[in-house]
Every structure is written in structure tokens, then in C-alpha cells.
């Protein structure tokens, strides 16, 4: 019962973080900056506390030894990745529906932060795989779908750099983000659909309590870090976007 309550609390927190990031499109920059500062301070405190729990307090795992401790940054990296791609997906739909440029800034920022966590997830996964599986990389369905996900969102960012017209860029990249997100549930369920090398998701009932608490702390810490980075990246995208729109306006006026 206690585990279900905590799971629901973490899920509610994740939904709130995602809802807040989407609301950024209609928020003044000053309010976003304050929220970003709070999220940043929370991330610093929770990361240091979570690392103490994961590296010192949590016991050694019976089968994997200490190498399982990579989990405390590996799994939270995927939480940041999923949050980033989900925000990019919802903000892209919101942009296509409303044509509010703010949603495009949110989508582009979220995709970049999602890709950042995707990279740390892949690196930590490879470094965990070597002592446990004997290889850094194998074409297991989970790893392959994850690599495809990273390539898709990297292409999304490259595509944005190649389209000059802000409206066309927002329209085309929204479609790419929506199509790219289709892979995210496939990544999640791949370990259940194709039983190969990567283990299925663990349940808190089968894991020692200190390990679960360390993992939960790091998950919340990475969500706070995600929020901090996203808000700052959004502020940057908004300043650049406003400058770009101003330049287009001046060009039209001079013609």
C-alpha cells in the first residue's frame, strides 16, 4: 500500500512538472526564472542526498555486486528522457492546434534536454552492461529502439537548424516530434514484448528498501534538474525567437 502511494506521488509530481513546462508558453519570463531557480536548488540538494543514499547507504546487490549502483544515474536519466520527449510531443500538438510560437520554443527545448538525458542513459547503460553482460553494446531490442529514439530526436534538432522560416520550422518539426514520440512506448514495452538480454522493469516489492529510496530520491532529483534545464533553455529559445521575429518584421517593413 505504501509503495502504491509513493508511486502515485511520483507520478503526480511528473505530471505537474510536464504541465508546468507546457504552461511556460504563456508565462512571463520572470515567473519562469523564479521557478527555475527553485528547481535548480532542489536538484542540487537532492542529487547530493541521493548520491549519498545510493553510494553509501544502499547495500551491495547479491548478484551484480556494486556495479548495480550505476542504476542510480542510469534509470533517472531515462526519467529525464521520457519527460523531455513527452513534453516535446504534447507541446508540438499544442503548437499545431494554436499556432502559439511559445509551444514551439517549449517543444524544441524539451527535445534538446530529452536528448541530453538520452545520451547519459546510453553511456551509463553501456558502462553497466560491460561488467554484467560482458559487452558495452549489443543489438538487443531495448538498446536498439533507444538508439533509434536518440537518432530521431537528434535529427529533429538538425532539421530545425536547416529551416530558416520560423513558421515552417515550427510546423515541420512539430510533425517530426509527434512521429518520433511513437517510438517512446515501444522502447518502454520492448523488454516485455521481446524477452532478450535487457531485464524487465523491477518492482519495489522485489528490491531492498534502501535501494528503492535512493532510486526515488535520484528520480525526483533528475526531474528537478530537467525542469531547471528546460526553463533556462526555454528562456534562451524565447529571446532568440523574439529577436528572429523582430528581424523578419524589420525585413518586411523595409521591403
Amino acid at each position: 500500500m505504501g509503495n502504491i502511494i509513493i508511486l502515485v506521488a511520483v507520478a503526480v509530481l511528473a505530471v505537474l512538472v510536464i504541465a508546468y513546462t507546457l504552461a511556460l508558453a504563456n508565462k512571463p519570463v520572470e515567473a519562469a526564472r523564479r521557478a527555475g531557480m527553485i528547481a535548480g536548488i532542489a536538484a542540487v540538494v537532492l542529487i547530493l542526498f541521493g548520491l549519498y543514499l545510493g553510494l553509501v547507504w544502499a547495500p551491495t546487490e547479491r548478484m551484480m555486486g556494486d556495479s548495480y549502483r550505476i542504476m542510480y544515474i542510469h534509470f533517472p536519466s531515462w526519467v529525464g528522457t521520457a519527460a523531455g520527449y513527452m513534453v516535446a510531443f504534447i507541446a508540438s500538438i499544442a503548437y499545431l492546434k494554436t499556432r502559439n510560437q511559445g509551444y514551439d520554443y517549449v517543444a524544441a527545448s524539451a527535445a534538446e534536454i530529452g536528448l541530453l538525458f538520452n545520451a547519459t542513459g546510453l553511456v551509463t547503460g553501456a558502462l553497466w552492461g560491460r561488467p554484467i553482460w560482458g559487452v558495452y553494446w549489443t543489438w538487443d531490442p531495448r538498446l536498439t529502439t533507444t538508439a533509434i529514439m536518440a537518432i530521431t530526436f537528434a535529427s529533429y534538432l538538425v532539421l530545425r537548424a536547416f529551416i530558416e522560416d520560423p513558421d515552417a520550422r515550427a510546423r515541420v518539426s512539430s510533425l517530426v516530434a509527434i512521429l518520433g514520440f511513437v517510438n517512446v512506448p515501444i522502447v518502454y514495452f520492448s523488454v516485455r514484448w521481446w524477452r532478450t538480454l535487457h531485464q524487465v522493469q523491477s518492482s519495489p516489492e522485489t528490491v531492498d528498501s534502501p535501494m528503492v529510496w535512493a532510486l526515488r530520491t535520484m528520480m525526483v532529483a533528475f526531474l528537478c534538474l530537467f525542469l531547471y534545464l528546460l526553463i533556462n533553455r526555454y528562456i534562451l529559445a524565447r529571446i532568440r525567437g523574439e529577436e528572429e521575429l523582430e528581424a523578419v518584421r524589420l525585413e518586411v517593413t523595409s521591403e
Partner: protein, 69 residues
């Protein structure tokens, strides 16, 4: 250098010091240290660069506002 960038650099340093103080006695310590240090470097460098880019963009915007009548 912005305040955010300094805090990021200090946090990254604190994580690396903690990892090097605690992990070396463990089995497979090399992999654990590499995973934590590489993650700290990737996230730290990105956060540091982002903080500087935001500070520069805001400075540029404020500069433009000052000259606009």
C-alpha cells in the same frame, strides 16, 4: 561567468569528489567511477554552457532595449 555556471561547476566538483572518496574500494569500481564522472561531465558542461548562453542572450537583449527610444 554567471552565478548558475559557478554553482554547476561546484556541484560537478562535489559529485566527482564524493564518487572518488566512496567508490574505489568497491568491486567493478572502474565502471562505476567512469559512469558517474562521464554523467557529471555531460550534464555539468551542458548546464554551464546553457547558463552562459542565457546570460549572454539577456545581456544582448537588455543592450538593445537601452538604445531603443
Amino acid at each position: 561567468m554567471s552565478k548558475g555556471a559557478i554553482i554547476t561547476a561546484l556541484l560537478g566538483l562535489a559529485i566527482i569528489v564524493l564518487v572518488f572518496a566512496v567508490v574505489p574500494g568497491m568491486r567493478d569500481a572502474g565502471y562505476i567511477i567512469r559512469a558517474y564522472v562521464i554523467t557529471a561531465v555531460i550534464l555539468g558542461v551542458y548546464t554551464w554552457l546553457l547558463a552562459n548562453r542565457v546570460a549572454q542572450a539577456e545581456k544582448g537583449r537588455d543592450g538593445k532595449q537601452d538604445v531603443t527610444p
